[in-house]
Symmetry: C2
Subunit: 148 residues, 2 copies
């Protein structure tokens, strides 16, 4: 058995697992709001600035339209946002929050601190957190560049 093929040696498997577990940890916080984690991400983008194009959202979340469009359609059905086609450029779609979508920001205000509590472990010092964020940002840059 090649040492490299052992699962425990794999950074990638850890990242895959952590990502899944985090999404699971969000569930009890987001379900009362009627949101999934990807939907919450879309709302964070729109809470930061309303009335953005589909392309703005895909770039921000680093997802493609074939993921984001159905996501937005479901959120539109839920009455969280409205999609308006063809303003200046007829190809574009503008995404705007409804009153309900805006109002959710208030209800979601405790989600980040609850998640922070969930992730906080004994040794979670500020330095390690910062180092982790830096490493992840580097990885995102590295992979993004090599892909394209």
């Amino acid at each position: 058995m090649l040492e490299q093929l052992k699962l425990d040696n794999q950074l990638c498997f850890r990242l895959y697992t952590v990502s899944r577990l985090i999404t699971q940890a969000y569930r009890p916080l987001l379900e009362p709001l009627g949101l999934t984690y990807p939907q919450y991400l879309v709302l964070m983008v729109l809470w930061e600035r309303d009335n953005q194009l589909v392309s703005d959202i895909t770039h921000r979340l680093m997802l493609d339209t074939n993921t984001v469009t159905p996501l937005l359609q479901r959120m539109e059905r839920e009455g969280l946002l409205v999609r308006t086609r063809g303003i200046a450029d007829g190809r574009q779609t503008l995404v705007s929050l409804t009153h309900k979508g805006k109002h959710l920001e208030e209800k979601a205000k405790d989600v980040p601190s609850c998640m922070a509590d969930n992730l906080r472990c004994g040794s979670s010092d500020v330095e390690r957190y910062a180092s982790l964020v830096t490493s992840l940002d580097e990885m995102i840059e590295t992979i993004k560049v090599k892909e394209k």
Copy 2:
């Protein structure tokens, strides 16, 4: 706008993104082998030790049967493994590699080093890699415990 709700401040979004980008980076390496990343994970478990129960695999990958069973069914259809029901305990299902499944280990032997090259960036020293792995393992433990 609450500072905490800003996307860029979110460790979780970074982990979600890194995980997705890594799966994407695996694709060109695994597609020639006819594998997806989760299927590759299952094979790594079975290459390490053949003839394991479904429960062994779910525990190892920290997934549930409702994810693993369909995954194994697709892999069985592809002729990579065989599922045998009811040996000593009639509820269990034993998963065994076929010749084709075993043979893939040879073909996959360069995948880890190729991925390592993909992830390697300028400043990726051994220390940071080790620190990253430690942080992720801590997070996995923390979330796992709090969930159950």
